[in-house]
């Protein structure tokens, strides 16, 4: 028996060159663990930082080199570097490039200790919150740098995820990217219980989603006798063409649904979105930015790959079921993201719902399913990812300050952002820019992203391709964008048109209502002007709330904000070069 297996087993032919970006990242992750164990405390941090950034830059450069080699002029075309377990095609290159750009920006935010000279991670993650041991570690000024290998492994998983060609590789990649994120979520320096609760929720729900994914894979394997995506699709196609009702046709549909559920969980699409706000709120903010941008990019990459096989080869009834399911998911996601976003008072939760809404828009964009869809989706992910990292970068800088002047945690209540426009015009301006880009207003990258995405979908509808005409989805998407405008604009209103709590206290305008709510008075108001309704719905805090201050960045975060803001404007006014590269990559 064993001998028989051995003779049947064929060693995969591996084209190592095409694995270079992944090898660099995975290798650096392992190296990073060794450094963690062997290098002295005092020099560990700089080494880890340079390794992490160097690895990503090297991976990016090698990826671009391979991309040009394969898909540039006279390129060699698609390669399957490890038999069919991995794809190296235009889609992989596009997604991985965007992924690395965003992860690099996110890690720059992560290494910034700001003028408070504390990084956002707990000194000893193993210490019980509030214990003496924790206090001791804090006093000793201990710092651990296990964040860096964890992030590197997460990026590795994210790189493999969209390239995966079979379900096993996909599952391994999913776990490699997820497990570090669970740990990273738990490592916030402040509000540790919230952070650990978030991590626990993420872990439990994430495991559940992984289980769904695995169960789906098992069903698909049972159906097709292979875990290879192409193989499964071929079996499905054969069934479809033979015209007879396949014996296990339901297994294909059910397996497909479960697989999609696992992926949609990572994207944060409704009804699998419940973890997103809690986790985004509890996780250390740089990690939130990293997750919001990069996890979504990787998961969208996988979703499109699966969808591609569904559309190319699956029988029509399977297509109808799966695409119909995605319709429901897309509409639900957009509604949940925008409607729930309207009621948020915490800036991180608001950004979480915003990211849910964007997940919905991206799924709509995927429904185009033609060549221009690919470049539109990649551009959308780039515009969304860069602005997201920039926005969370800004959140890391807006801090509460104690009476004694010690910088505390982030000031995440929206009310604490009141009057930021006056005190810190640059930060408020950049944040407004990101919000306007999320809202999709013209002259920002978000507008071009939404425009190209939706127009590629409309083109599909007009040409009559696909099993459904996706134009109604676009109309829902535009309505949802219109609603979402409101909560983005609300933050801009607060930052620019409302005076901060301290200033109002100085002018002698005292709060009248609620334990923690003041009237949203502002300079130039008559005192009697505030309606009871305005007080009730107000998000403005009392002046007894901690003082809010914008701390200075050590440099990296500021650089990220500047780069992201410049990108949002330039890609909004003149996206032509980026779109040109994408068009030549995808040939649409």
């Amino acid at each position: 028996m064993i001998t028989q297996l051995l003779t049947e087993f064929q060693a995969p032919t591996i084209s190592w060159t095409y694995l270079l970006p992944i090898i660099i990242l995975a290798g650096s992750g392992i190296l990073s663990v060794l450094i963690e164990a062997l290098v002295r405390d005092s020099v560990r941090r700089p080494i880890q930082i340079s390794l992490m950034i160097g690895a990503q830059v090297a991976a990016f450069i090698s990826l671009i080199w391979l991309g040009v080699k394969s898909f540039g002029p006279n390129g060699s075309g698609t390669v399957l570097p490890v038999n069919q377990a991995l794809h190296f095609d235009a889609w992989t290159v596009g997604i991985q490039a965007v992924l690395l750009i965003c992860s690099l920006l996110a890690t720059l935010v992560l290494i910034d200790r700001t003028s408070a000279k504390q990084d956002p991670f707990v000194a000893t993650a193993a210490a019980v919150p509030g214990s003496e041991y924790e206090e001791l570690a804090r006093q000793r000024g201990l710092q651990q740098t296990e964040v860096f290998p964890l992030v590197l492994f997460a990026i590795t998983g994210m790189m493999v995820f969209p390239a995966a060609g079979d379900l096993v590789t996909m599952f391994v990649a999913l776990e490699v990217l997820s497990l570090p994120l669970y740990v990273l979520t738990a490592m916030a320096r402040r509000r540790r219980l919230l952070s650990q609760e978030a991590a626990f929720k993420y872990f439990v729900l994430g495991s559940f989603a992984s289980a769904l994914f695995l169960f789906g894979s098992a069903l698909l394997y049972g159906y097709a006798g292979t875990v290879n995506l192409y193989g499964i699709a071929q079996v499905a196609q054969a069934h479809g063409q033979s015209g007879q009702i396949p014996q296990f046709g339901l297994m294909l549909i059910l397996g497909g649904f479960l697989l999609l559920a696992g992926i949609l969980f990572k994207i944060g699409a409704a009804p699998f979105q419940a973890w997103t706000p809690d986790v985004y709120q509890g996780a250390p903010t740089p990690i939130t930015g990293f997750m919001a941008a990069c996890t979504k990019i990787a998961a969208v990459g996988v979703l499109l790959r699966v969808l591609n096989y569904v559309v190319l080869l699956a029988p029509v009834d399977t297509q109808r079921a799966l695409i119909g399911g995605l319709w429901v998911v897309a509409i639900l996601t957009m509604i949940v993201g925008t409607v729930a976003g309207l009621t948020q008072t915490d800036i991180k939760r608001m950004l979480a719902y915003s990211s849910i809404g964007h997940a919905g828009f991206i799924i709509v964009a995927l429904m185009g399913l033609n060549a221009s869809t690919l470049s539109a989706v990649v551009f959308y992910l780039l515009a969304y990812g860069v602005a997201t990292v920039g926005a969370f970068g800004i959140v890391t800088l807006v801090r509460e300050v104690s009476e004694g002047g010690e910088v505390l945690g982030e000031a995440t209540h929206i009310g604490q952002w009141a009057g930021l426009g006056k005190r810190s015009p640059f930060i408020a301006g950049a944040f407004s820019l990101f919000l306007l880009s999320f809202a999709g207003l013209p002259l920002t990258a978000g507008f071009i992203a939404k425009y190209t995405a939706f127009s590629s979908v409309v083109a599909t509808g007009v040409s009559g391709m696909g099993v459904f005409n996706p134009v109604p989805l676009v109309i829902v998407a535009i309505v949802a964008s219109a609603i979402s405008l409101f909560f983005y604009i609300r933050v801009i209103v607060l930052m620019y048109f409302v005076a901060p709590a301290e200033e109002r206290a100085l002018t002698g305008e005292l709060a009248q209502a609620g334990p923690n709510l003041a009237d949203p008075a502002e300079d130039g108001d008559e005192p009697s002007s505030t309606s009871p309704e305005a007080v009730r719905t107000s998000v403005v805090l009392l002046d007894s709330a901690p003082h809010v201050e914008v701390v200075k960045s050590e440099g990296p975060t500021l650089a990220v904000i500047v780069v992201a803001a410049a990108f949002v404007v330039i890609a909004g006014i003149y996206p032509t070069p980026i779109l040109g590269v994408l068009t030549s990559l995808f040939g649409g």
């Binding site: 470049s375 190209t452 409309v458 219109a482 048109f497 130039g524 002007s529 032509t576 779109l579 068009t583």
Partner: protein, 512 residues
Amino acid sequence: MLDSLPMLTILAVVPLIGAIVLWSLPAAKSAVAPKVALGFAGLELVLLVLTFMAFDRGNAGEFQLTEQFSWIPQIGASYALGVNGLSLLLIALAIVLVPLVVLAAWKEQGVGTAVGERAAVAANRLRLYLALVMVLTTFMVLIFAARDVFLFHVVFEAMLIPVYFMIGSFGNGARRRYAAIKFLLFSLVGGLIMLVAVFGLYFQGPRGEEGFLIDNLTNVVADPTLEKWLFIGFFIAFAIKAPMFPVHTWLPDTAQHAPAGTSVLLVGVLDKIGTYGMLVLCLPLFPNASTWAAPVIIVLAVISIIYGGLLAIGQRDLMRLIAYTSVSHFGFIVLGIFTFSSAGITGSSFYMINHGLSTGLLFLVAGFLFLRSRDGSSQLIAEYGGMQRVTPVLAGVFFVAGLAALSMPGLSTFISEITVLIATFEANKWAGAFAATGVVLAALYVLLTYQKIFTGPKVEELSDKPDLNAREKWVVAPLLALMLILGFVPNIALNYLEAPSETSVSVLEGAH
């Protein structure tokens, strides 16, 4: 030589440079900001004269000074500019009003009036306000010159942001944020409805890298039902902008809470984008649907005229009153356009220019009046009385501005209103008869208001208020002069406007 220069782009870029200069001025040097802004506005006027010289008046119906570059070829968008007589005059209107707005805001108007603010803070706020005015100027030039539907839409939405801050940050009164948001949401919803139509239109055209050029999209929609839907999409956006009954409700709130200078640009110029859009986008792109929808639109226009006039009479806040008069006037403009006659469209085009001048003057004078109230900013008509004897020059200017609003012969507004009315009578007697009542209403709201504010017993606390100073006189003088000149020699403007309206009519006739 002028023909070889991209005059329109230069006109658009110069104020943008002005805005960047103003932004980069250190806060401590804010005192020079008004001078810098005025300098750029003056430079813009000079460039405007050069543009007029480069423009061939004999061919005013054609789009001239055209520029076209590939912008985002992947989605078919081009950077295409060009002006015909009408667009050129609207750009001129904007550029003439900007220096007056800068001059009117020179020290205090609508800016930094908050209690307890120190002079330096006020000067800094003024600098930021003027920078926004400059950005808005760029957008105003671009939108009237855009010859590409995508470019038009982008500018249409992008220009909301500076206006939003001009109202929300620099407006007056407790509800200015509410006004700013109401303005933004109305306009953005209109813009998004238009965006859907823009999507739909592109796929009806030739597509490709120049698929959004207006010339490539003229009357391309083959399916009549789709044409109607697309027309409605564009029309709603323009009706909100114009603003027409029943989507006019944002304007009174906005005008009430915006600084006077912002209202001048908002009502005087930006709202013209609505009627301009109807004329240069709706009519040529969807000629059949335009004819189909005309009866409904004419009814809505007549309702706007009467309803706006009636509500104006009932207002207690002067700014709201002026806003409602504008709703009435925009009814006339829309009415003239949808008579589909050369005379009606010419009348409406001229009306757009005149309304910009007369309403601009009204808002500015009203702003000067408010500075002379007890608290320095009261907009309530009841707060004033007998001002004629306190500030005679101000009263005189207000009176002339009021006469312009009621279309007194001798002022330019008379010619445009009578042209529109005659064209309407020719097209539809009933519409003409109802619209004519608007003239009577105008007399009522203007004269009653004048009576309440400027005649009667003096209000004691206001009796020592100064009359218009030299700077303020310089603000109003150009507008008075322009209205008189255009009133007696209207051909100066009509020469530019007749040819474009004949082109519009011929497009419509060609489609039947």
